[in-house]
Symmetry: C2
Subunit: 212 residues, 2 copies
Amino acid sequence: MLKVVVCVSGGGTNLQAVLDAIDDGRITNAQVTAVVSNNAGAMALERAKKHGIPAIVLSPRDYPDRSSFNGAFTRKMLELNPDLIVLAGFLVKVPAETVAAFDNRIVNIHPSLIPSFCGVGCYGLKVHEKALERGVKITGATVHFVNEGMDEGPVIAQKAVEVRQDDTPETLQRRVMEQAEWVLLPQVIDDIANNRIFVENGKVRKEEKEKI
Amino acid sequence: MLKVVVCVSGGGTNLQAVLDAIDDGRITNAQVTAVVSNNAGAMALERAKKHGIPAIVLSPRDYPDRSSFNGAFTRKMLELNPDLIVLAGFLVKVPAETVAAFDNRIVNIHPSLIPSFCGVGCYGLKVHEKALERGVKITGATVHFVNEGMDEGPVIAQKAVEVRQDDTPETLQRRVMEQAEWVLLPQVIDDIANNRIFVENGKVRKEEKEKI
């Protein structure tokens, strides 16, 4: 049984998509053992509690400097000892020491088709603002392993979404969530939980589900 | 009737897709009035001749320096006087003076989802090599207006294509052609020929076909 810790900052709709997929059997052999938020007011914490999942607040604001936060975050992750850390709209940069401790065991979901519209300063609604500014007709979402770079780890899965002419950043964000993020993230967790994802030479190989 | 000049460097499969679409009525109100190649051996020139279309060779190699080629290229385009110039695998940078003379009347097809895998040095098979190196799961093609930048003009249309695990640059290139380039380019030419494409504030707006 894959033990998953989900890190969030806000509404937690991706967390909800994962919990729903576990409940209805689209994700097998995995359970969410804790939810960590940097934001004490995150709706995601309520979603966790409703599911009887420990909800933990860990914010850089509660530490004198970044390095002490980084140490606390890494220690908390080692204590929780998950098989997989899922960054589901987590707006804090994961400390390098956490990345080193959980090599190829941290995944992030990014609301664009990497390498488009990613990197430093490109998160949340800003990603969609940039896509609309550039006038692209196709965008989407990416689930990738987290390495020491920003949105630079091996790509696990991507899904394309059409941009509409009347889209605002808000409507585009919503559609990318519905059509891509909430589909991809449960799929990837199910694939990892059932040993279908391998990293070889910095690239992801996926073994197809066995046909029954 | 939209007069189209197609510029090519190689096989001319995109040219063929356009000629086929004119022949079978997927493109209306447009005709290819000349094909220009920088490469005298381009198969595309044969395709043009078979269709009774003037086939013109214009190569930087035949001029003492780039500026005299640029002048000759621009004069040739002004003489041909097309309503639209289509760069269909044209590996020569279009001179700035041509771009200025044909503002929003030059389109290029690029074998990726811009802004991924585009810009200086990213053309032909190299685009697909870069996509495979990065390990993306979705790529595609883009038709865009040409401005003074490299692959930076307004995006007209894009189409996504799935990357397969066993893809080589060659197999991926072929599938992006078949599934995206040969579909997009005729669509865009038909849209332009029938006045459905408008550029506003650097972005493309498309009017939908009227329902009959």
